[in-house]
């Protein structure tokens, strides 16, 4: 399947009338995914639990630390939606945002163990660790990954990466551990962004001003084309919600992608590493099973 054919055809009136998901902030995104009237925000801005580390460095903190947690239902099923606000410190994970996310996942696990299976939806717009909180950010990510895996034994974890920040750094592992990943063509997913690769390995390794190359590698279309993400949706809030709904109803897959070690080890072993890997050829080689909806 060529990447071009994966973009679903959209009529002009449909495109004009759509409600953009990307233009919503984290709170509105989270709200748009839950059954109307079913949700309540937990540890929200009125609780005023903010980063103690940012003000020490002359940076204004935010009352919700850039992490929005809603508990409610999706398609009638118990669910928690955790959304990172890309507009605050690039959605980076700090002590407080990390603790909110980990605590919510742990509570969903506890409910699931008690018979109330609770799915988690993660809206990841994040650069990874918040460097101003460095080691507490990295530790928080290790802990939330552990909590995500504990919940994943009971209920599906659905990651949505819509853009425009994308999902990078340690938080890309949260996406990698998810049951399902939904992306828009505007979204990017990767451990190291192009800037970091250029800085660490030189411009000949990655020219971070080459936006076409960045999207050819990290973009939603490509991630779905090589099968490391599950569904490509257009930037339309109703389509994102429908895709989330479908995965909540589908429940846990029989095997998670991050458990398919032999398959991926063999794929990596078969790559020609003498030159850069062509993204389009990789799509053909790895033969994704799912197209766009």
């Amino acid at each position: 399947m060529s990447a071009a054919s994966m973009i679903p055809a959209v009529s002009i009136p449909e495109f004009v009338k759509r409600r953009s998901f990307i233009e919503l902030d984290a709170r509105a995104r989270a709200q748009s995914l839950m059954d109307s009237g079913s949700w309540r925000e937990l540890v929200g801005p009125f609780d005023r639990i903010e980063s103690p580390w940012l003000p020490k460095q002359g940076i204004a903190p935010q009352f919700d630390d850039g992490c929005v947690v809603l508990k409610g239902t999706i398609a009638g099923e118990p669910a928690v939606v955790i959304a990172l606000e890309g507009g605050f410190q690039a959605g980076s994970m700090g002590e407080v945002s990390g603790a909110k996310m980990t605590a919510a996942l742990d509570l969903a696990t506890k409910d699931s163990e008690n018979g109330k299976k609770t799915a988690a939806v993660l809206l990841l717009e994040t650069g990874g660790v918040r460097l101003q909180e460095a080691n507490l950010g990295l530790a928080a990510i290790a802990e939330l990954l552990a909590s995500l895996l504990a919940l994943r034994q009971h209920a599906p974890i659905i990651t949505v990466i819509a853009g425009t920040v994308g999902c990078f750094g340690g938080m890309s592992l949260a996406a990698g551990l998810s049951s399902y990943i939904i992306m828009t063509p505007e979204a990017r997913l990767g451990l190291n962004g192009a800037e970091v690769i250029e800085q660490e390995s030189g411009i000949e390794e990655f020219d971070s001003s080459d936006r076409a190359l960045i999207w050819a590698i990290y973009g939603g279309e490509q991630r779905v084309a090589i099968g490391v993400a599950d569904e490509l949706v257009m930037d339309d809030a109703s389509k994102v919600a429908a895709a989330v709904c479908e995965f909540v109803k589908a429940g846990r897959p029989s095997i998670h992608r991050s458990e398919q070690v032999d398959l991926y080890r063999q794929r990596i072993g078969a790559l020609d590493t003498s030159k850069q890997i062509d993204p389009l050829s990789l799509g053909k080689l790895w033969n994704a099973k799912r197209g766009a909806q």
Binding site: G72, A99, N135, L173, L177, S258
Partner: protein, 274 residues
């Protein structure tokens, strides 16, 4: 923080296991061995520099695609063959510069490789395998998330050559537009930013800081000392929970992660009411 990364890891792997070569079919950068440790046969794992690595950006001790998937496979192998009550301990010896920063890695999805290794280590821990991490050198960023940070218990040498951090110093300085000196000064004011392992230890994430004479060169005395500490950590892990609550509920966390504690407590309160 130069080309020496990984050499300590290799030296300690060899001293503790008597092995120097990878297992059959594995890349030269991942050492694995099954060795008697106290009453157990433990699996030791270590990522070491491999100048011949197939991936050019993973030749200096970085955790790349091959390293991450090999770790995942070698951990899952232990999970798969253990049927008894007493689970095989897994010991991760850590001296990793970082994850591999290459375009090939980006294209082929190193995020998923890192997730696969994280998944394997966490699965082992949740199934009751004592997973012990021994940081003998560097443990940086995605390299540490991939290899070591999912352990029940983390031990680290009390030595200036040991660095646990979200980003190596030079890169952090470049990105935050600060000098390395400024970063060091800031580290003393802002504890989580410190590159000093003793500051890190205050955060309550470590099980124990080990004072080992001359950590660059293991001796029979220090090897015995480290073995005893590993055996004790395995026993402690077996007596505790299989999640990471020992880090979150540690004394250090109560002292230095008060905001996180408050967020967690409030979440529990409000969750019950929602």
């Amino acid at each position: 923080m130069s080309g020496q990364v990984g050499l300590r890891g290799k030296a300690w792997f060899q001293a503790l296991t008597g092995q120097t070569s990878p297992m059959k079919g594995d890349p030269g950068s991942v050492l694995a061995a099954d060795v008697r440790l106290g009453e157990d046969d433990a699996r030791f794992l270590c990522v070491v520099p491999n100048t011949q690595a197939r991936f050019p950006c993973a030749r200096r001790g970085e955790v790349g695609l091959e390293e991450a998937y090999t770790l995942a496979a070698r951990v899952r192998e232990v999970i798969g063959r253990d049927s008894g009550e007493k689970k095989t301990p897994i010991v991760a010896i850590v001296d990793v510069k970082s994850q591999a920063y290459g375009r090939r890695e980006g294209t082929a999805g190193i995020f998923l490789a890192a997730a696969a290794a994280t998944d394997a280590y966490a699965a082992a821990r949740m199934k009751g395998h004592p997973v012990i991490t021994l940081v003998v050198g560097q443990a940086i960023s995605g390299g540490f998330l991939t290899h070591g940070y999912q352990a029940n218990r983390i031990l680290a040498f009390d030595d200036p050559g040991v660095v646990i951090h979200a980003m190596h110093k030079e890169a952090a300085a470049r990105i935050t537009l600060r000098s390395v000196e400024e970063l060091d000064r800031l580290g003393h004011e802002i504890l989580p930013m410190s590159y000093d392992i003793r500051d890190y230890a205050k955060l309550g994430l470590l099980h124990k800081l080990l004072h080992v004479e001359n950590p660059d060169t293991p001796s029979p005395t220090t090897v015995t000392q480290v073995q005893q500490e590993l055996i004790a950590a395995i026993a402690d892990a077996r007596s505790g929970s299989t999640d990471l609550r020992n880090r979150i509920e540690s004394e250090g966390a109560r002292e230095w992660r008060k905001a996180g504690w408050a967020a967690r407590a409030r979440m529990e309160e409000q969750w019950a009411l929602a």
